[in-house]
Symmetry: C3
Subunit: 151 residues, 3 copies
């Protein structure tokens, strides 16, 4: 078979996406776990699913922290999902493509763990690495659009 998914660069991109999406769900799960621990919900009806929780007006700081990590993942993964896809479609060299994908994904895992555990400056460094990777991919897409061929 010879589908778009089986193009080597698209496959490398797909693997990265699957890891990032797992991270989305890990943060969602972790929010629930922290919420269970602090026993506090903002939606009154949620006492039906978080048994024994009390209703609060403002999320507990521990829950807010995981939510910030989740939003930060969205803010950074969405650019990768789009620019990474365009880059994969530019027929890049596989070694470079797979390297860039990996250098984006691994620091995002580090970022999520560092945010959950309150570690700095590693969180900021991991964030910056992701930004640089998307910038490089964006530059390569731009080059491909101008030159008519991928790098």
């Amino acid at each position: 078979m010879n589908t778009l998914l089986h193009d080597p660069a698209v496959s490398a991109y797909a693997v990265s996406c699957l890891v990032l999406v797992s991270l989305f769900y890990w943060l969602a799960y972790y929010t629930g776990k922290v919420r269970t621990r602090v026993k506090a919900v903002v939606n009154p009806e949620d006492v039906r699913v978080y048994l024994g929780a009390s209703i609060v007006e403002v999320e507990r700081p521990e829950v807010q922290r995981v939510k910030r990590a989740h939003v930060n993942l969205i803010e950074n993964a969405v650019p990768f999902f789009i620019v990474g896809l365009l880059y994969a479609l530019s027929e890049p060299r596989l070694l470079l493509a797979a390297t860039l994908d990996g250098v984006f994904v691994i620091p995002r895992v580090v970022h999520a763990v560092a945010y959950s555990n309150g570690r700095q400056p590693i969180r900021s460094i991991a964030w910056m690495v992701g930004v640089v990777v998307v910038a490089v991919m964006g530059g390569l897409v731009t080059w491909s659009l101008i030159a008519g061929q991928g790098i």
Copy 2:
């Protein structure tokens, strides 16, 4: 014509995306509607578009609720947009693909309505169904990457 969009599995994915995007805008519209009802804005300049509204430091709980529903949609639709696309590109069987798309989209509509109306446990169940669909699609994409063919 024979474009990628007209591949049957991609068409089914496209229909799902159009419904989900409509849901994004419904929640945006609903936020505005609730804001008009509670007459409270956080941006001082917004009194120019929400006539008669007062300026508040913290969003009213009713507005916060719709915003949480909106963020939850983003957190879950983005994984579907990406994994669903990769899955559609794996040349899946149309019946399975269309079923999985529908079983993701319908519970997300239920989730948005249930969140707006404060219903539980249906909201949590609808959320979980969406997570399971994306997990199944992710598994099928992984299988396709390993085996070189879709299911």
Copy 3:
């Protein structure tokens, strides 16, 4: 070379995506800049990267404003990323496709600047233009799915 990226409508979509992703990062950078100015962080560990900042329980209003602009961009760019891609894959006429892409992207830049500077009603107008563009693209994708050809 003849990759999907070099299809004219996909190229126009790609340029729009690169501008929008730059806007994501500009808002992230701007959040940091405002945070540096107000010298207030919500994560205690962030005093290691924002030297001299004090730890606050609630984000300063100036920081909240940029974050709202960022979330609004996500809420609106994600629908464009998906519907714009499907539309680009429907083999649309290039002039119409490039026009719609531009009429989405430019108002989103205006929206980000207007939000940062507290301008209304231009912010609401810019938002609405983006919604209309995605609605038109969604209609054209629907037509393409029904008629079997793009417009």
